[in-house]
Each structure stands twice: as C-alpha cells, then as structure tokens.
C-alpha cells in the first residue's frame, strides 16, 4: 500500500469509489445480527451498523444510513477489512486505525485500504467522521464479549 500512501490522487479515487459505491451497504432483516445506531450531532452523520459474529469470527458486517463522504467511505472500507477476521484481529486493526488518526505509531499492513486516511488526523474536525463506523464496530464487538462472559 506504499504506493497509495504517497499518491493523493489514488487516495481520493479510493475514497470516492467507496463513497459512491459503498460496500456491504443495506441492512439485513436477521436476528442473528447485532445492530447499533451511531450518529454525530455535530456533523449530521447517521448510520446503522450490523455485525454477525460466529465462533469469534466476524462473518458479516453491514451498514446503512446518511453520512458524509468521509464517514461513508471510512465505514465502507472498514467493512471490507474486518469481514472474515477473528474478533481479536479486528480489535487490533481498530486500535491501529485509531492510532493512525491520532498520529501515533501504527502497523500499516493491517490497515489495507484504510491507509487512505493516514493524514486525516491533521484535519482534526473530521476525525469524528472517519471513526463513526469504526467506533460502532468496536462497541458491537465489546457487547458480544460482555454477553458471552
């Protein structure tokens, strides 16, 4: 992904693609999915997130809602990255993503396409948009853990 990191045009294309054709979009009507509603009063972003976890594996993630380009693209990218991951792995990826936005050290390889947001941390007022879906996933995973304990 190094080529992406230094290529703003490619970054923009990836974000636009995910915004215009969000992956794993639309919710399913299935009680096995856990669902959460995430919204930002400060940006009007408003999404619903669903996750299907089986034997600690994230089998499916879906989302829906009204959101800005950054929120939509970052959530769409997230769904692609974590689908199929174990919960532990997902936790690690999420942590890395937050580290990147907070301008700390992070492991690029884990983040795949999410690397397009590597400089977004400098635009502090948009961090909330870039994390809304990711925070939702984190909450769903944590709930899953708690329910099992």
């Amino acid at each position: 992904m190094d080529s992406v990191k230094d290529n703003p045009i490619l970054k923009r294309e990836i974000i636009m693609d995910h915004y215009q054709n969000p992956r794993n979009y639309n919710l399913v009507d299935d009680n096995n999915y856990r669902q959460i509603h995430m919204y930002l009063d400060s940006c009007f972003d408003d999404i619903y997130l669903q996750v299907l976890i089986n034997h600690d594996i994230i089998e499916d993630v879906r989302f829906d809602g009204v959101a800005c380009a950054i929120a939509t693209a970052s959530t769409s990218i997230m769904t692609e990255i974590v689908k199929g991951c174990s919960i532990r792995q997902a936790d690690k990826i999420i942590q890395n993503y937050f580290d990147m936005l907070n301008q700390k050290d992070y492991d690029e390889k884990l983040l795949k396409e999410a690397i397009v947001f590597d400089t977004l941390g400098r635009q502090a007022n948009r961090i909330k948009c870039a994390t809304i879906g990711w925070k939702g996933l984190k909450k769903l995973i944590d709930k899953n853990k708690n329910d099992k304990e």
Partner: protein, 414 residues
C-alpha cells in the same frame, strides 16, 4: 451614510487571518455574530474598571454597576419600543421560550387546549411546547406552510379556533429566512383569545422591531446574534401577563423576603424572573451592541442586507451546481446545496472545503429538524449574511462554490 468598509474596521475579527490562516469570510451569522470593538471594550471596562455585583448599592462601585444595569434595560426598551419593566433579561432566546412555556403555559393551559407552531421552528421554539403539551394535556398542532415553506396569514386563520391558547412562531425562520406578518397574525390570534409568542432570534438583529406595533404578547431574542455577548437574551412580555407569570428559576435577587414558615414575597416583574447573579457583563455588552446597531440604523442594516442578498442570489443562480431553497426570502439567509455528479454533496464535506478558503458556513438541519420532510432534503448549507459582509466576500464565495466538487471536498480532508 452606510459605509461597509468603515463598519468593518469596528470588528477585530475582520482584521487578521482568523480562519485557517485565511482572511475570515464569516457567513454563519445565523448561529452567532462577530462583536464590534465597542462591545468588547464594554466587557473589558466591566472587568477592568468596575467589577462588582449588582442589586446592592452599598458602595460606589456596586452602585455604578447597578445603574448601568438598569440603564441597559431602558436601552432595550427603547430598541423594541416597550416599557423598561417589560424587559426581562434571560440567558438567551431558549431560556426565554422555556420561561414563557413554564411561567405562562403551565398556568393557563389545560386538556384539549391547543398550541400552534410550525415545522420551520427552531428546536428552542418546539421542544418547550412539546413538554408543555405533555404535562397539561394540551395539543401541539402545526400550521401548514405554503409550498415555498412560508407561513401565511390564511393558513394561520385556518388553524385558529377558541381552543388555541398559544401561537408561537418565528418572526424570521432560521433556515429559510421568511418573514411572517406578525401584525396581522397577532390580530387574528387575539380574536380567538389566544396569545402570540414571537421568536425574534433571527429577526431582531436584522429588522426594526416594534412590539407595540406588532402587538405580540411575548418576544424573545438573543444578544449573541446581534453583536452582543453570549448568554444574554431578552424576554419581552406585556406587563399584565408578566405580572401573572411564575418564574422558571427561584433564588437570590428575585425575592423581597421569605421566612422559615414558607412565606415568600417575590419582587415585581421583571425582577422576579431574574434569579441569581445575572450575566452582568453581558447585559452591559448587550447595551453597547444595541447602541452600536442604533447608531448604524436598523433600517440601513435591513436595506443593505436585502441588497447584498439579492446580489448573492443572482450570482448563485448563474452557477449550475447550486440548488437554492429560498431564493425569494426576505432577509439575509440563503439555504442551498451543491450538486456534483447528480448527487447532493453532503453539507459537512462542503463546509470543510469552503473553510479551507476562509469561508465560514454552517451546514446541517440548523436545529429545525421538523422542516426536512417539507424541503425534501436532509440538510442544507446556510449562508447567513450580516451588515458587515461585502460583495467581495460574496464574489469569493461564488468563486469557491464553482470549484466545489466531490474531489475537492475529499482533497480538503486528506
């Protein structure tokens, strides 16, 4: 004579490079306005030269502040043409509306009574009525807007009947900027025996307001939207109504005496509504702000804003990536969206891009969350003008709007 360049020199914020290292083009005047130096100076004077609490003139300093505080009430009264005892200082329009709902509404409404508002009202002119209805069993009903989103006298009349006890509407709405005919509406409301509450948050700063002429029963507004400090507002009320109203808050400064047998004697209005240490600094600041606006002249302000808005609209209409939702509105608010690739760009993305060029515009639902079904969009970008804005600033806005594409919005962030 109205000379915008001279006026701009009165504003510190307009001198430097205050947004993203760019000269500030502040077009968010519906949210709050910039403060002229005379207001800032007044605040400084209070803190540097005569800090003290009011209501006790034991020593000279306190007396000075007390006098200035009382004087401010007279300045407000003169500004909206009422008696000074009809001027209640609040912490803002929101506080004022809650005070009316609590103090007048709880006492006077009961089951099956009706409260009329519109879907264009701000949250602060909606939620207090929802609660009042819930507690009293009264019903909140919405006066329908016309297809442009305007409130017409005809539609008000259609909804009026003797069950209507309160009609509460904005003089100028904060998303669409339409000005309602308060004078005629007030007549109609009084005919059925109701009272009219006017939310002046977006009108008092922009147009001359004469409560006698409008004959409204209550008028609320906020200082920070008219060049004054934060957390100061005014609730005007006809005195006979204020007399019968219950204060929302109780405490020091608003009672004359009380004892341990639960006898309590409140002060008379307006004082009974001003519990606790008031926002002294901001009352003095509001006075300075009003005097500043009066020196420019409210009519000059309105005329200039209307002109500037016309110019902005005609320029925006030339762009084919802009949808305007209120081309023909009355005062300086322009609600619009940008289209790129046949899709409305999300307001927040647009605002971020504009900000990079020094332009401050707010996007979203602007606290009028009931309006959106009506407009057919989830949110808008709002350009809210004030008398210190210029044609040059509009030109800059137009120039940047031309280049507002999804690509550029994304590039502004990454």
């Amino acid at each position: 004579m109205f000379d915008v360049n001279k006026i701009r020199q009165d504003f510190w914020m307009l001198q430097g490079k205050t947004n993203e290292g760019k000269p500030l083009i502040y077009l968010d005047n519906g949210a709050t306005t910039l403060k002229p130096n005379c207001v800032i100076e007044m605040i400084n004077d209070y803190y540097k030269k005569f800090t003290s609490n009011i209501q006790r003139s034991d020593y000279q300093l306190a007396y000075q502040v007390d006098e200035a505080y009382q004087k401010a009430r007279e300045v407000v009264a003169d500004f909206i043409n009422c008696q000074s005892r009809e001027v209640v200082f609040t912490y803002g329009a929101t506080h004022g509306l809650n005070q009316v709902a609590y103090g007048y509404g709880l006492k006077n409404l009961s089951k099956n009574d009706e409260i009329l508002i519109t879907v264009a009202e701000h949250a602060s002119n909606t939620l207090p009525w929802y609660r009042l209805a819930q507690i009293t069993g009264a019903k909140v009903k919405f006066i329908p807007l016309d297809d442009k989103g305007r409130l017409t006298l005809e539609n008000v009349k259609k909804m009026l009947n003797e069950k209507v006890k309160i009609v509460s509407i904005a003089h100028v709405t904060n998303v669409l900027g339409y000005c309602s005919d308060i004078k005629e509406i007030s007549k109609a409301v009084h005919e059925v025996g109701g009272i009219l509450v006017v939310d002046g948050a977006q009108s008092v700063p922009h147009i001359k307001t004469d409560v006698k002429d409008l004959d409204c029963d209550f008028l609320v507004f906020s200082g920070h939207k008219m060049c004054g400090p934060t957390a100061i507002g005014v609730m005007y009320g006809k005195y006979h109504l204020l007399e019968k109203m219950e204060p929302l808050m109780l405490g020091g400064g608003m009672n004359s005496r009380f004892d341990a047998s639960f006898n309590v004697l409140l002060k008379e209005a307006p004082h009974k509504f001003e519990a606790g240490t008031p926002n002294i600094e901001a009352v003095l600041g509001l006075k300075a702000a009003i005097q500043y606006l009066q020196a420019i002249g409210m009519d000059n302000i309105t005329r200039y804003e209307v002109q500037l808005r016309k110019y902005a609209i005609s320029e925006m209409k030339k762009l084919d990536n802009v949808i305007i939702y209120n081309s023909d509105a009355d005062v300086g608010i322009i609600s619009f969206n940008i289209i790129d690739k046949d899709k409305i760009l999300f307001g927040h993305d647009v605002s971020t891009y504009l900000s990079k060029h020094g332009l401050c515009l707010r996007s979203g639902n602007h606290c009028a969350k009931n309006l959106w079904q009506h407009l057919g969009t989830d949110s808008t970008v709002r350009c809210a003008l004030y008398f210190y804005n210029t044609k040059q600033e509009i030109d800059k806005l137009i120039e940047v709007l031309k280049t507002t594409t999804l690509e550029n919005c994304i590039d502004a962030v990454i």
